[in-house]
């Protein structure tokens, strides 16, 4: 039974890899949402599948090498005062600490800039904000350029990441 054995194993492996790709993508999505995720690896050895934020947090924990179970990881996170947002039989998700490249910066925004940033958070384009505020699109764009410069970002999406909870429309 030479080749048939390995063909079946290969078939199973490729199916699992396809599931893993989809799951990896979901972990990346959670990463972009600021959520660290650790999922129990279903194997005899145990261990976790993690996204980038979770692996950074695990590395920060001194006990990382000894954390073997979700409940132990949960205990450590709660003891550190971290907010655990999901815990089930297979998975633990918690709010990640800000990434080093996304440390909040002290933003000195003018009232007009705050107003524009608020509308930006609502998904409005510069031209639409201009209509709402009675300004020209060019003026709004100029305000946005100033906002990007002050926040040290290069586009609207990055700006949104830096100003969560800072402005209201």
């Amino acid at each position: 039974m030479p080749n048939t054995w390995s063909r079946m194993s290969e078939r199973l492996r490729s199916k699992t890899e396809s599931d893993l790709r989809q799951f990896d993508a979901t972990l990346a999505l959670m990463d972009s949402m600021g959520v660290a995720v650790a999922v129990v690896e279903p194997s005899e050895q145990g261990g976790f599948m993690t996204n980038r934020r979770a692996s950074i947090d695990l590395a920060r924990m001194e006990e990382a090498g000894t954390v073997q179970t979700l409940s132990r990881l949960d205990e450590i996170l709660r003891a550190e005062g971290r907010e655990v947002i999901l815990l089930n039989g297979y998975m633990l998700a918690w709010k990640s600490m800000p990434m080093l490249d996304q440390e909040p910066v002290e933003l000195k925004w003018t009232p007009r800039e705050k107003e524009i940033a608020g509308w930006l958070c609502e998904g409005k384009k510069a031209s639409e904000i201009g209509i709402i505020l009675g300004l020209s699109a060019r003026t709004v764009e100029k305000h946005l350029q100033n906002l990007y410069r002050k926040a040290g970002v290069s586009n609207a999406s990055q700006l949104m990441g830096t100003m969560e909870g800072r402005v209201g429309a």
């Binding site: 799951f23 979901t26 949402m33 194997s43 297979y90 998904g123 384009k125 949104m160």
Partner: protein, 276 residues
Amino acid sequence: MTIKQGSSAQPRLPDVRQADLRRVNALCRDLTDCTEWSNLASEFITRVEKCFSAENLAWNEISPDYGCISGWEVTPGYAHTAEEFREPLLAHLPEHPVLTSVGWEGLNKEPLLMSQFVGDSIFRQSGLYREAYRFIDARYQIAFDLGRFFGKPLLFSFNRSGRDFDQREKQLFHLICLRMQEICSHVERRHVLMESRKALLDLLGLDGSDTLGELSSSETVSLAMLIEGNDVGNIAKERGVGRNSQDRMFGRIRERLGLESNLQLRAYFARLKSSL
């Protein structure tokens, strides 16, 4: 992220015939798409008789401490008898000749036959025989421990009343068990990944049946990159696709969410992020 794959080392089972192997592989092919543990057990039980002439077959889930059989699936012909004698079977299980001789550990190396450990006359004096097996009329049993799945050991057993198992049948049973070991491991991984993905999407308020539950992996990755602040051109470059293809992809996502621009898409997830 990596995940350990099951062992794919080819076992030495010289007496198994090509026709047997083809039947076992056909059985396995049908089972590879299972995502639910309960489906796998019932599908296996329904189909395995095409590969192996067992009169009574049981898929036994053992409690984590090996204290008792916590659940079983049996072939239809065996179901009625097995249920009727469930209590005495479980009560006298510690008297099982294989278990008393080699313990549970001995069952995960190779399939073991009861007749390897005890003679007929002695076995007939045991409580296990008098209270249970006598009525089941399945004196000849072969068993194999497949390992732990979902935290519980899984044991396959085949019982027969008429005659014992020969070498070829023992190897065929071993082959089925090893194949099922891989399938079970695969189904467990799939189950964990799919359940976890669903729970994560639930967390974002987007359960599996909802819009984002239908996102492909490339769409999910693109979305993650957009949320992180990459512009569409960079995302396309990073993923090695054309700008137009990338634009169309985001167009499809926006359409599902009822949004009009990528800015609105980013704002949608920014709001979600702050609500977590």
